[in-house]
């Protein structure tokens, strides 16, 4: 069994985000980064599957700047066998189509039986990588898995549906599974495994050699929501006078009432 897990490193979501100089994405200055939460579920599920079959092999892949090596090392410390880094200092400028094309460019040569990834990234949240990848590779695809098992070449996944209903899906391998909160509890990298991970291979591949696809959609602008004006409290006078004042304000400053 050959398993691939695709991860992204994202900023700590409790950070204060500021647009970059070009206004095209957030500025990375002063941000702390960590592995995308949904990708942690993907790594855990992949490692669990890997542990069941000693003959299997588990690779972890990430496209992004040098800092993403930290997330790859964490995945190695959680139990992945080897890592693939596709360096791209400006990966944020690539759209999901391009990122999925790069991963597919790598996965095509790898003969993977199953690919796990998060159901979406916590920062961009497009949720497109998994399905796009499955399409490009001609794999089955199950999204938002909250349960997973494998028997022979058939994967069974539990999915959470709108309104809390659950569904069970069976898919033939090869397959892409995108992982949702509730699937598992990711393990902590232990100290001995952090040490062992240091000896594992991190291959560096060239993005341009994996795919030369152009973007289908580009991010035009990144900005903080416009601050709303502060509220206004009308005080003093009787009810009729206050109501009169309110009508004046509504006519003057809003489109609720027209003069």
């Amino acid at each position: 069994m050959k398993i691939l897990v695709c991860i992204k490193q994202i900023p700590d979501m409790a950070s204060k985000f500021k647009p970059n100089a070009a206004g095209s994405w957030f500025s990375e200055a002063d941000l702390a980064f960590r592995m995308n939460e949904y990708d942690e579920y993907a790594v855990e599920e992949a490692v669990k599957l890997r542990e069941k079959d000693p003959a299997s092999e588990l690779a972890v892949l990430s496209v992004g700047p040098a800092r993403v090596v930290e997330a790859l090392k964490k995945a190695l410390a959680m139990g992945c066998d080897r890592a693939v880094h596709v360096p791209d200092e400006e990966a944020y400028r690539k759209d999901p189509w391009q990122i999925a094309s790069i991963i597919a460019g790598y996965a095509k040569k790898g003969n993977f039986d199953i690919i796990f990834t998060g159901m979406q990234s916590q920062d961009r949240g497009s949720a497109q990588i998994g399905p796009l990848l499955a399409g490009m590779l001609g794999f089955s695809c199950v999204t938002t898995a909250i349960g997973f098992s494998l028997e022979g070449r058939t994967a069974t996944a539990k999915r959470e549906l709108e309104g809390g209903a659950k569904g069970v899906v069976k898919a033939a391998l090869p397959a892409v599974i995108t992982c949702q909160l509730g699937l598992n509890t990711p393990r902590y990298p232990t100290l001995p495994n952090i040490m062992k991970a240091k000896k594992k291979e991190i291959a560096v591949l060239n993005a341009a050699e994996l795919s030369s696809e152009a973007a289908l959609a580009g991010t035009e602008k990144f900005y903080a929501p416009v601050k709303k004006g502060t509220g206004l409290v009308l005080e003093g006078g009787d009810a009729a006078a206050l109501a009169g004042k309110l009508i004046d304000v509504l006519k003057e400053k809003t489109t609720v009432l027209r003069g």
């Binding site: 090392k73 964490k74 232990t190 100290l191 001995p192 952090i194």
Partner: protein, 379 residues
């Protein structure tokens, strides 16, 4: 010069932080109240490799560096100082002298049980009349065939009540002073070892601090650690490294208290404004943060020097002194920022305030640290 942690150190810090957040923080108050660290937590920490951080892999450790060890103790102590010293005393005061002075046979025999957390380690140095004055140790040993026979008492033994593995210091003849001291590896569950008392303490109440009596304790001759008569040197070098552990614990206590004070100052409103909007509170926060950062630089530097195998005795004394004083200062101010709430046990800063004080006292009082530092300057 580079002040950045390595990627591996960051992964370790974040992993420990996540573990502490979920497994230790929720029960830190209970550990303090019940005066014990639950066995289940010890097992989980053992699985994480907390008991063998920088001990080489061939002895069952993780084989990481001293810097990683400092980060581990710091992160654990942010939530629970008892667990911080539990790990620190075990690693710095028991595993470390075994690693530095033990023979290959001794290391292979004793370290795997310690690094796996099966046995918790401690050092048996202090006696009622021999605290800072190590050369006054009165616990005696005598050679008897293939054994040593040990008699005497020890007190204030951190982790003593675990009755795991101990590094025990005893004298051949008290009149010889420090030249009479030797170190022995002792299984504290052996016959002849009695725990006389568990101390009831101001802080770090989750850890055991025990008094021991040794009544004709028979220790096999092969358990002599290092050369006979070199006990003083072993003790001093061990305490040297131990100071980084205690400094990291103090740094963690200070960081934990600061985090809670900062958060509280943003939430608590008085006179229509959050506390952090008042300059009197802002200045406190600025001073607290600056003192933590000062201490952190010294602690990390001392750990870095230990990893670089350069003499770090002055730095370890300075980092222990500064970090412990930062801890007592920061926890005191954290209580003050919490006002009346800071004085009650429902708010964690009350415990942290009590926990901080010991870091100025144990593993060499801060007065002893000043002696170490000034000796290096003027001698």
């Amino acid at each position: 010069m580079n002040f950045e942690l390595t990627q591996d150190q960051k992964i370790l810090r974040d992993s420990v932080r996540d573990f502490v957040e979920k497994e230790i923080k929720p029960i830190a108050a209970k550990i303090d109240e019940e005066h014990r660290i639950p066995q289940e937590l010890t097992a989980k920490m053992a699985e994480m490799g907390f008991f063998g951080s920088y001990i080489p892999e061939k002895y069952g450790g993780a084989g990481l560096d001293a810097m990683s060890y400092a980060l581990l103790v710091e992160e654990v102590s942010k939530a629970c100082a008892s667990n911080g010293v539990y790990i620190s005393a075990h690693t710095s005061l028991c595993c470390d002298p075994l690693l530095n002075f033990g023979t290959e046979e001794q290391k292979l025999k004793w370290l795997p049980d310690l690094t796996s957390g099966k046995k918790i380690g401690c050092i048996l140095l202090t006696e009622s009349d021999a605290g800072s004055d190590v050369a006054s140790i009165a616990t005696s040993y005598k050679r008897d065939g293939d054994h040593f026979v040990i008699n005497g008492t020890k007190m204030f033994i951190t982790n003593g009540g675990c009755r795991g593995t101990g590094i025990l210091f005893a004298t051949k003849d008290k009149a010889l002073g420090h030249k009479g001291l030797s170190a022995f590896i002792v299984d504290l569950s052996s016959p002849g070892v009695t725990v006389m008392k568990e101390e009831n303490k101001m802080g770090i109440r989750g850890t055991s601090t025990a008094a021991f009596a040794f009544d004709n304790l028979k220790v096999p001759a092969e358990n002599l650690l290092g050369e006979e008569g070199k006990g003083f040197k072993i003790a001093m070098e061990t305490l040297n490294g131990g100071r980084i552990g205690i400094a990291a614990q103090a740094l963690g206590i200070a960081g934990g208290a600061f985090g809670r004070a900062l958060e509280y100052s943003k939430q608590r409103k008085q006179f229509g404004k959050p506390l952090c909007a008042f300059q009197s509170v802002q200045f406190k926060l600025a001073e607290m943060y600056a003192r933590i950062e000062q201490a952190k630089l010294l602690v990390y530097k001392a750990a870095w020097m230990k990893d670089a195998h350069v003499n770090y005795s002055t730095e370890s004394a300075m980092c222990k002194m500064c970090a412990s004083e930062a801890a007592t200062y920061v926890t005191k101010e954290a209580v003050q920022i919490h006002g009346g709430y800071g004085y009650i046990a429902d708010y964690e800063v009350e415990r942290m305030f009590r926990d901080a004080k010991i870091t100025e006292i144990y593993e060499g009082t801060n007065e002893m640290q000043r002696i170490v530092i000034s000796k290096a300057l003027v001698s």
